[in-house]
Amino acid sequence: MSGTGLYVDGVTVTFDGFRALNALSLVVEPGELRAVIGPNGAGKTTMMDVITGKTRPDTGIVRFAGRDLTKLDEAAIATLGIGRKFQKPTVFDALTVFENLELALKAPRGPIACLRWVLAGAARARIEAIMEQIGLAARREDLAGLLSHGQRQWLEIGMLLMQEPDLLLVDEPVAGMTDHETEQTAALLRGIAGTRSVVVVEHDLEFVRALDCRVTVLHEGSVLSEGSITHVQADPRVIEVYLGR
């Protein structure tokens, strides 16, 4: 599975006359890792909202897996294979790491199905693999409430991965993390990309550098610059609106 690409084309969103997105166009290749940066109010979160169906654009289309996402609701978009990690980690504190991942596993979701659910070997192996990937295998039996902030973020990423998304949207994953955790998160996201597309919205430039990927700089709702981190940091327009301040 190499994922499917994301095409954002000419998307404009206005809130009470304020243009949050202004003819935004963006292409994310299948399996690509992409960082999106920009000053506050540049439209990063609105872009995520449009892709996940939380906000409907005034004009423009968002194409993914052959469908126009602007015509679908949140649940349909999630089923189509787009997972979103919000800034604040929300894992189930009273359940263990393993149980959290088990709940996120693709499986029949009705009450009776859950009552009769037996964890089969393949599903168990999948949970094991994800625990390994997010670096929490040693803490499988620990309650999620006992994890550190960074570990909770990883658990949440793991829960998203359990749903086997083709595109992962990650909103400010390293806010509040220690330097060590930040490094590990960058490695985790680099590892996830390749099999799936990953879009990371982030403020922390050190982290973006560690991601070692293509960077898109947003400003006033459209793309200001795009390229490697070295390229955008050298771009005079970027320096003027964002980095120079």
Partner: protein, 349 residues
């Protein structure tokens, strides 16, 4: 395992009560009749507490109306007991119960049909509470009514039912309810042997409900319910139909409460609309809170300990009971959020 052994010993100790009751009165180990009937009642309360704990402790649905499901179960079996009186009533009417003769009924209302059969009445004791929970729950959960708003709705439900059952023209005996029962399944109700049979039936039900609930909470459904309790919208976001899951546990819980009521009424020999009073439902929630919600042992422990306290206190200082009950709730909420079980566990570790 130690815990299992402790539970088994508790069940055996309870099971010994009617046996010691059967000893001659002058025997030093003789257990008085009243103790058997009072503990039999507590067992029914413990079943009700388990029902509340499943909904509240595990799924976060704080129902303040479970007394209504309990009472409906009691009324269903009470109707059967009334039918069994037959022509032995005070008025000696061949078909109608006393209260209907008194109120000038000429024939049996249609909704009394079928209650001549125990099996039908027993099924109704489960079905009617379950149906009510399904309707109320569906309306509430579908509109995403949670927390204190849901609690208020369930209080209103039990209050409305109390007012309805007070009415003579409902055909359920008005404020006198049903009493003067004679027999059940061919056994006269006022004998020690029947008391023992009802006691054992209740105890067996408690064990069965406990075992079933323990199993349910260990399944993935139990974990989904915990997830709903702690972060409902997050669970919905994971793709779970939260309404369905909450309805499932709410209906199941109401049916267990109905079962408890059905076991209770033959033992106390009376059912009337005061069983619907909002205070009863709140008291039952206090048992669970006191014992420790979210643990099945806690619910049972709470039902037994609070009711033991009530039985003792209402005999020595009846006026103090409500004050003590209120204090108990405040103390538990402030100092023992995990109840008695939490306290015991803290001691243990």
């Amino acid at each position: 395992m130690n815990r299992r052994l402790a539970l088994l010993l508790c069940v055996l100790a309870l099971a010994a009560l009617p046996a010691f009751n059967a000893l001659p009165a002058e025997h030093p180990l003789h257990v008085p009749d009243f103790l058997v009937s009072v503990v039999g009642k507590w067992i029914c309360y413990a079943i009700l507490a388990l029902a509340i704990d499943l909904a509240w402790g595990y799924a976060g649905i704080l129902s303040l109306g479970h007394g209504a499901f309990f009472a409906l179960g009691g009324y269903a079996i009470g109707m059967h007991l009334m039918r069994l009186i037959g022509p032995r009533g005070v008025y000696g009417h061949p078909v109608l119960p006393d209260f209907m003769v008194f109120l000038g009924y000429t024939e049996l209302p249609w909704y009394w049909l079928g209650f001549d059969w125990f099996a039908f009445a027993f099924l109704m004791a489960l079905f009617v509470p379950g149906l009510l929970a399904l309707v109320v729950g569906w309306l509430a959960f579908r509109s995403r009514i949670t927390g204190v708003y849901l609690s208020i709705i369930t209080q209103a439900m039990t209050y409305a039912l109390m007012l309805a059952f007070f009415r003579n023209d409902m055909g359920f005996g008005g404020n006198n309810g049903f009493t003067d029962f004679k027999e059940l399944l061919g056994m006269p109700l006022n004998t020690g042997a029947t008391r023992a049979v009802l006691f054992y039936a209740s105890l067996a039900t408690l064990v069965l409900v406990f075992w079933g609930s323990a199993h349910l909470t260990q399944t993935k459904l139990g974990r989904v319910l915990t997830a709903i309790r702690d972060a409902e919208s997050r669970t919905r976001f994971l793709g779970y139909n939260v309404t369905q899951h909450k309805l499932f546990v709410f209906v199941l819980s109401a049916m267990i409460a109905g079962l408890a009521g059905a076991l209770y009424v033959p033992q106390v020999g009376i059912i009337n609309p005061s069983e619907f009073s909002p205070g009863n439902s709140i008291e039952a929630v206090v048992w669970v809170a006191f014992g420790g919600r979210g643990t099945l042992v806690g619910a049972v422990l709470g039902a037994f300990s609070v009711n033991a306290l009530k039985t003792w206190l209402t005999s020595v200082a009846p006026d103090l009971w409500l004050i003590v009950l209120g204090l108990l709730f405040v103390i538990v909420t402030l100092l023992l959020p995990k109840g008695l079980v939490g306290l015991l566990r803290r001691r243990g570790s």
